[in-house]
Amino acid sequence: MKITLHTIMGLKDVIGQRLTEIDLPQRSTIADFLTYMRERWGDKLSTNLFDPASGDVLPYVRIMVNGQTINYLKGMETLLEEGDEVVILPPVSGG
């Protein structure tokens, strides 16, 4: 199934574009999605997305599926569906 990854800031610079289409097996979860990202972009993600020591997602990084933060869905076990948009936001502030 096709999922759109939407990134900004430093994470966008690593991935190379704001919107990236990713092909994942049916019934993939956010955890699977992040595993795919780690395999595809590797260590380059570590300063923007993963703690290199623990492998966990960095604090204050937000992951949204169709605009909703995964903390209000099923977290890493949130199931993805064809056409979903995953937004990954690094810490940003200011107005």
């Binding site: 937004v87 200011g94 107005g95």
Partner: protein, 624 residues
């Protein structure tokens, strides 16, 4: 008694009879209201009678920095300017940074109160305790950068700091601002109040320093702040390099970057053309306020077409929205040019951009015709039209006269159902966060005592995901009353009364804002506060501002949102389908009023609440 931070003196200037006098700053005032907006709103409530004309001689302007300004506290070269807003009729309070606030403290003043009206165009020059009134013959009619230079030359002092108005303020545009250097006292039309007093500028020069109560405690407090700055994952790594325009990318990704007068949020998302990366291609340098190690301000130069070579400080995110996505523009150079032009004319860049986007929507819908727009093709995306209309607004020329007092006033003159396209609350145009996908922002803007104000209704938890004081679902209605009160009270005391830069709270000390401020107050002023007492100052100031508005006739009905935001769900993007219905807003308002200790039907604070805050005299004034 305080033993540092404060100069201990307030300067009262009467323009009608060209006199000035010094008044002592009482300890009770310092303790209960801290400074900045606290001082301004206290003077406003106590001294400005209900129902006065905001553009008449009875209105006042209170310029107030705070105890940390000039004391070496990072990010504290800030001041609040307070008066009755001609745009909203409510409390008008706007903040500014730069060097002027610090110069006020070096000149020995905790606040300057401007009263009356000069009989002809005038500027006031303050050198320490000496106040002189000068004819503004040479500077009246000038753009703001020229005005500042003329006054510096006349005073033969290139280091004097000048806060002035441009043509918009002189022509009493109700969305006129003040400018000091390239920084604005931006919103609520306070530039028109200055213009109504025939006051072109205040020039100030000081040679004193600000005393510190305890150098030892100050070193500890200062080091704690700098450590928080360094520990922030955002402040130096990102914000110091990119400034606020990076929020364009964030709000675009979240589907809350307002577009085309809020009719196309999520559909028209011109981040590639106007976002962080596009802005970076125009960057030529940085600026910083006094004692700021962050230097978020970006100097940019436009490169293309007729805008090539125009420099501006900014544009900040709000201006990227108001002169960019809001008016359907998808490239950076027109925004740079419009930002500079608005500053030079002395127009609030948010209100002027949103008012133009309002007119553009009316034009596209046929409610305004070419005859009524002086022949200007006012379609969304027409940057040349935007520039023309900006100039016309400042000089009240033709269509500009219709738009010079903001979108609500224009809508009332136009009729034909135009009011529902005016994106404003209490008359103040909305900032760049589409509240349909950020519910606490909706409540925050609706209940802000100044109207739809980016400095009052902000909920960084929703936009930036910071889980302080708790984690927040941006789409949820429940709990937003409690969150809004927390945000308003803490931001009021730390950012408006201290006053300190908002980015400090959002990026460096969100979890310890009140502890940080209590520590600084003790170190700088010698006054001891608990964090809870600090927060209570914020609550006191918000209640006093609310009381001022109620006395002016505001009711619960004024704490509302534009019709579009309650009736039109977002059609695309990451917030698709979101809306704040009338019922949703009422649910949030009920929670908010109830937890505030205000009457749910009227929004009136109870006598018990006001007494608890030390404001029993306000209850008397409101006849509670």
């Amino acid at each position: 008694m305080y033993s540092g931070g404060y100069a201990g003196k307030i300067l009262r200037i009467n323009l009608s009879n060209k006199t000035s006098r010094e008044e002592p700053l009482a300890e009770e005032m310092a303790r209960d209201f801290i400074g900045g907006a606290g001082f301004g709103i206290k003077h406003l409530f106590d001294e400005v009678r209900p129902g006065i004309d905001p553009l008449g001689p009875d209105n006042k302007l209170v310029f107030a920095p705070g105890p940390f300004t000039g004391a070496g506290v990072p990010c504290a070269s800030r001041m609040a300017v307070t008066g009755k807003s001609p745009l909203t009729g409510a409390v008008g309070m706007a903040l500014s940074g730069g060097e002027f606030p610090t110069e006020m403290k070096f000149a020995g003043w905790d606040a300057i109160i401007i009263e009356g009206k000069a009989d002809k165009p005038t500027y006031v020059a303050i050198t320490g305790k000496v106040v002189r009134f000068h004819d503004a013959d040479c500077s009246w009619g000038t753009l703001t950068s020229d005005c500042q230079q003329i006054i510096k030359n006349e005073l033969r002092d290139q280091n004097v700091r000048v806060c002035c108005i441009g043509p918009a303020g002189e022509h009493l545009s109700k969305i006129a601002c003040m400018i000091n250097e390239r920084r604005a006292v931006g919103r609520k039309g306070l530039g028109a109040v200055m213009g109504s007093k025939n006051l072109k500028a205040i020039a100030i020069r000081g040679t004193d320093s600000v005393a510190i109560a305890s150098q030892e405690k100050f070193k500890i407090a200062h080091a704690a702040m700098l450590k928080a700055f360094k520990d922030s994952p955002v402040l130096y790594p990102e914000f110091s390099h990119h400034g606020t325009p990076m929020v364009t990318d964030l709000t675009g990704a979240m589907g809350v970057l307002p577009a085309k007068n809020w009719s196309a949020t999520g559909e028209f998302v011109p981040v590639e053309g106007i976002g962080k990366d596009a802005q970076a291609t125009r960057k030529v340098g940085k600026e910083h306020c006094h004692d700021c190690p962050v230097a978020c301000s970006q100097l940019k130069v436009a490169k293309t077409g007729e805008y090539a070579g125009i420099l501006t400080e900014g544009p900040d995110f709000e201006t990227v929205y108001s002169f960019g996505s809001g008016v359907g523009i998808d490239e950076v150079d027109p925004i740079i040019a419009a930002d500079r032009l608005a500053d030079e004319l002395g127009l609030d860049s948010i209100s002027s951009g949103v008012t133009i986007s309002f007119a553009m929507e009316l034009f596209e819908k046929g409610i305004l015709t070419l005859d009524e727009t002086d022949g200007i093709d006012l379609r969304f995306g027409n940057d040349e039209a935007m520039m023309k209309v900006l100039r016309k607004m400042a000089f009240r020329d033709g269509l500009g006269d219709l738009l010079a007092d903001g979108s609500l006033a224009a809508a009332k003159r136009i009729g034909k159902g135009a009011e529902k396209y005016a994106m404003q609350i209490k008359g103040l145009e909305l900032p760049g966060y589409d509240v349909r996908g950020l519910k606490a922002h909706g409540l925050g803007f609706a209940t802000s005592y100044t109207g739809a104000d980016h400095c009052r209704g902000y909920a960084f938890q929703e936009v930036f995901g910071v889980p302080i004081p708790w984690e927040v679902d941006r789409f949820a209605i429940e709990g937003k009353g409690k969150l809004t009160i927390w945000n308003q009270d803490i931001r009021t005391v730390t950012l408006d009364c201290a006053p300190m830069c908002a980015f400090l709270l959002d990026m460096a000390v969100p979890a310890t804002a009140c502890q940080n401020m209590a520590r600084l107050m003790e170190a700088v002023t010698g006054l001891s506060f608990t964090p809870e007492e600090i927060q209570k100052v914020g609550e006191r100031v918000n209640n006093l501002a609310k009381a001022f508005n109620l006395r002016e006739g505001f009711t619960r009905a004024d704490d509302t949102l534009p019709e579009r935001l309650m009736n039109e769900p977002l059609k695309a993007g990451a917030s698709k389908g979101q809306v704040i219905s009338r019922e949703d807003l009422d649910t949030m308002l009920d929670e908010y009023y109830s937890l505030r200790g205000w009457d749910i039907k009227t929004g009136m604070p109870t006598r018990a609440k006001l007494t608890d805050l030390g404001l029993a005299y306000v209850a008397d004034a409101l006849r509670l």
